[in-house]
């Protein structure tokens, strides 16, 4: 019994039942399959993180954001600028309590190099209804390339708790046909 010392004092020498051996082997192989699936996806899958990251500071990062807004603003959403950066170009997304800044307009099928950083706390970039979720840290500039493949209005929810206005934090990304 499991609550008494093993009856067989040489328990490590007793043979193992066949179903157990088979299950151990199957589980182990399944672990390998899952391991290689991740690697396979890095080679052939279309959704991977580049993991390109730079150290930054709130000052340096907001300077880049402001520069982008200055150059590419096309209109505004209740005072928040909407920018339309050139296809293939850089998009600087800034998170701070409690807004995503600025709003972005993209062209369907084009690739954009997105940068993410926070001015203050950690925030969570949650693109809806696509459902892509990234952690945004202050002090780190995270870079990855998105290729929006459907047009429409998308929302950016914050899904890392960032204080009492956490649920107010809602940004917009518009994807247009051209």
């Amino acid at each position: 019994m499991a609550i008494a010392p093993p009856a067989d004092r040489m328990w490590w020498r007793t043979p193992v039942a066949r179903p157990e051996i088979i299950w151990i082997v199957v589980s182990f192989l399944w672990g390998l399959v899952m391991f290689f699936t991740m690697i396979y996806w890095h080679a052939y899958g279309k959704q991977n993180l580049s993991n390109e990251t730079y150290r930054t500071t709130p000052m340096k990062y907001s300077a880049k954001v402001d520069e982008m807004v200055g150059k590419f603003q096309v209109r505004d959403d209740n005072g928040i600028p909407v920018v339309r950066p050139p296809a293939g170009g850089d998009v600087y997304m800034l998170a701070r309590t409690w807004m995503w800044y600025p709003h972005i307009e993209l062209v369907k099928g084009q690739s954009y190099k997105f940068h993410f950083s926070s001015l203050d706390l950690q925030h969570g970039f949650s693109l809806q209804p696509v459902n892509v979720n990234l952690q945004v840290h202050p002090g780190y500039e995270h870079v990855l390339t998105f290729t929006p493949d459907e047009s429409g209005e998308y929302s950016v929810v914050c899904n890392e708790f960032c204080g009492l206005g956490h649920h107010l934090m809602l940004g917009k990304i518009y994807v247009v046909e051209k």
Binding site: M1, A2, W41, L49, D149
Partner: protein
């Protein structure tokens, strides 16, 4: 009957340890250990009551049609919920289990009972300090308290004191193992359940050390003495505590599964070697899995993520997959030996489903595997994490592990502790009998519906998914609202099951009929007849378990690849 075995040397400078012999199990129980187990278990239950109430309030707020609490209270109560259940309920109960698995199962005196009381006091004081800090309102930072968000200094101080107390209690546990060995209170190797408890304790040392490494500087920072710990480093080390402490829970509740199967059905592990190796895998590999909380974090390479989640995590998952077969396998073999050997599932149909210890244990086993286990592996897959990170899928997953799995198993274990350690008859057996089912429906339900809503993108720790007060407008799909409503309904079931548990336990402890020292209680379920030949060691007859295992495996593989398919549909990114 209080027996004082002459064979035991007297511990210097202490009064002679007093023992009683349990008439039901024949175990020799050190009375000081027994009192400590009672104190830790009762304290755990009190924190479950408080934390569970907070959980209900949170779930009712997240039920869109009810939306109970205002925003500031919601976030405060959510912080308190995580702390009280995950930390205080679980760890106090685990300390009780550790004392039980060392002193009681080995028939030994507990080492240094006074130190154990000091540990208890530290844990209690620490827990209260942190609770007060949270309830005062200045520490609404969630139990993860990610920097740069800052809580009141007492929030961290309480956690540190609690951790120190828990470390001291672990010291008493290890000390008791040494005492038992030196005083030869048992023959051969320690029992499997004790082995599992040792696994839990070793992981706990690592966990608490990580906690200290990160919380002490954070405390000093909150006092303004040092500069802020880097948020990414904080997270990495914090999860060294936060994740590995979940492995303490797994080791502890798997030990409880074996314990209940042994006490109620007389089940023997199919193979001591395999079951112990599976525990050992936890020690070797689970610590590293802190990586799977950092999948979509900047600044960490994919190689690091893949390595740490596969090599490390899958070998630990292997441990759980092994237990997932050997526990039902042991039960099937025992039931067949007890005479229930008709057909594939006669052993399961005739299992003691009316015994809450068994019912809770088996439901915990099934739900931990199918809900918590599978979703955990999927969630921890580097790329799939992109479509789940910080959505309410995450709490869905861990309510499958730590509520439907650990909490339900601990509840089941309590139904044995009451007669054995508290020496009380369960006061309302009919309520106890239904409790595991009601709680399981609730716990399984909240897990599944939160997972469902998370798949639709709903954020975790979020007060308003309608975004009524935001300057822009957005709303999740109607199905997500439905899921959150169903989650609220299941929360009512979970809360009902929780209240049934708490009231019955408390009433039993206070007013249950006393079981006299020499009086035996019926714990084992009746046998149909004793079958001596039901297979051999090499070929145990466990066809039912094999079928269950195949069903589990197919579900796992399908669900895993379905999520890859979901991932393949989102915006391409690199």
């Amino acid at each position: 009957m209080v027996a004082t075995p002459e064979s035991l040397p007297l511990p210097a400078a202490h009064e002679e340890p007093r023992f009683r012999t349990c008439a039901s199990t024949g175990l020799k129980i050190h009375l000081a250990a027994q009192t400590l187990i009672k104190a830790n278990a009762v304290t755990a239950v009190v924190f479950l009551a408080i934390g569970g109430l907070f959980g209900l309030l949170v779930a009712l707020t997240r039920w869109p049609a009810v939306h109970l609490l205002p925003a500031d209270w919601f976030y405060l109560v959510l912080t308190a919920h995580g702390l009280d259940v995950l930390l205080l309920w679980i760890i106090f109960f685990e300390i009780a289990i550790l004392y039980f698995a060392s002193a009681v199962l080995l028939g030994s005196r507990i080492a240094a009972p006074r130190v154990a009381w000091a540990a208890y006091a530290l844990m209690l004081i620490g827990g209260l300090i942190t609770n007060v800090a949270v309830l005062q309102g200045g520490s609404t930072v969630m139990f993860t308290s990610y920097t740069p968000m800052m809580a009141a200094p007492n929030f961290y101080l309480g956690l540190i004191i609690f951790a120190v107390g828990a470390l001291v209690a672990l010291g008493v546990f290890f000390g008791t193992l040494v005492v038992a060995r030196d005083e030869r209170t048992y023959e051969g190797s320690v029992p499997l359940v004790t082995f599992g408890a040792i696994t839990a304790a070793i992981i706990a040392v690592f966990t608490l050390a990580s906690g200290a490494i990160i919380l002490i500087p954070t405390y000093l920072w909150s006092l303004g003495l040092i500069s802020m710990p880097d948020p990414l480093t904080y997270k990495l080390i914090w999860w060294g505590m936060g994740h590995s402490s979940q492995q303490i829970n797994v080791s502890a509740h798997v030990s409880i599964w074996y314990l209940i199967a042994a006490v109620v059905l007389g089940a023997k592990p199919l193979s001591e070697k395999v079951s112990r190796m599976a525990f050992f895998l936890y020690i070797l590999f689970l610590q590293l899995a802190s990586a799977h909380h950092l999948m979509v974090e900047p600044g960490l390479s994919s190689e690091w993520k893949v390595f740490n989640t596969s090599y490390a995590m899958y070998l630990a998952v292997l441990g759980s997959m092994i237990h997932g077969m050997t526990v039902p396998g042991a039960i099937e073999a025992a039931q067949r030996a007890n005479g229930y050997d008709k057909g594939l599932f006669g052993w399961l149909r005739h299992a003691p489903w009316g015994n809450p210890a068994f019912a809770g244990m088996f439901l915990s086993l099934i739900m931990f595997g199918f809900i918590g286990g599978i979703s955990g592996v999927v969630l921890g897959t580097e790329q799939i994490n992109l479509i789940m990170h910080n959505t309410i899928y995450v709490p869905g997953h861990f309510h499958g592990t730590v509520v439907a799995g650990t909490t339900l198993a601990f509840m089941a274990g309590t139904w044995l502790l009451l007669p054995l350690i508290f020496q009380r008859e369960i006061i309302w057996p009919r309520i106890a009998r239904w409790q595991p089912y009601i709680f399981a429906i609730g716990a399984g339900g909240i897990s599944l519906f939160m997972m469902g809503a998370g798949t639709l993108g709903v954020a975790r720790r979020h007060w308003d998914i309608t975004f009524a007060d935001a300057s822009m407008s957005f709303s999740y799909p109607p199905a997500a609202f439905l899921m959150m409503g169903l989650n609220g309904i299941c929360a009512l079931f979970a809360a009902t099951g929780g209240i049934m548990y708490i009231l019955t336990v408390v009433a039993t402890v206070l007013w249950g009929k006393r079981i006299a020292d020499g009086q035996a209680v019926q714990l084992a379920s009746p046998k149909a007849r004793v079958v001596t030949e039901y297979g051999s060691i090499e070929h145990p007859k466990i066809p039912g378990t094999i079928i269950l295992t195949v069903i589990f495996f197919v579900a796992f593989v399908l669900y895993y690849y379905v999520n890859w398919k979901y991932l393949a549909e989102v915006w391409p990114m690199r």
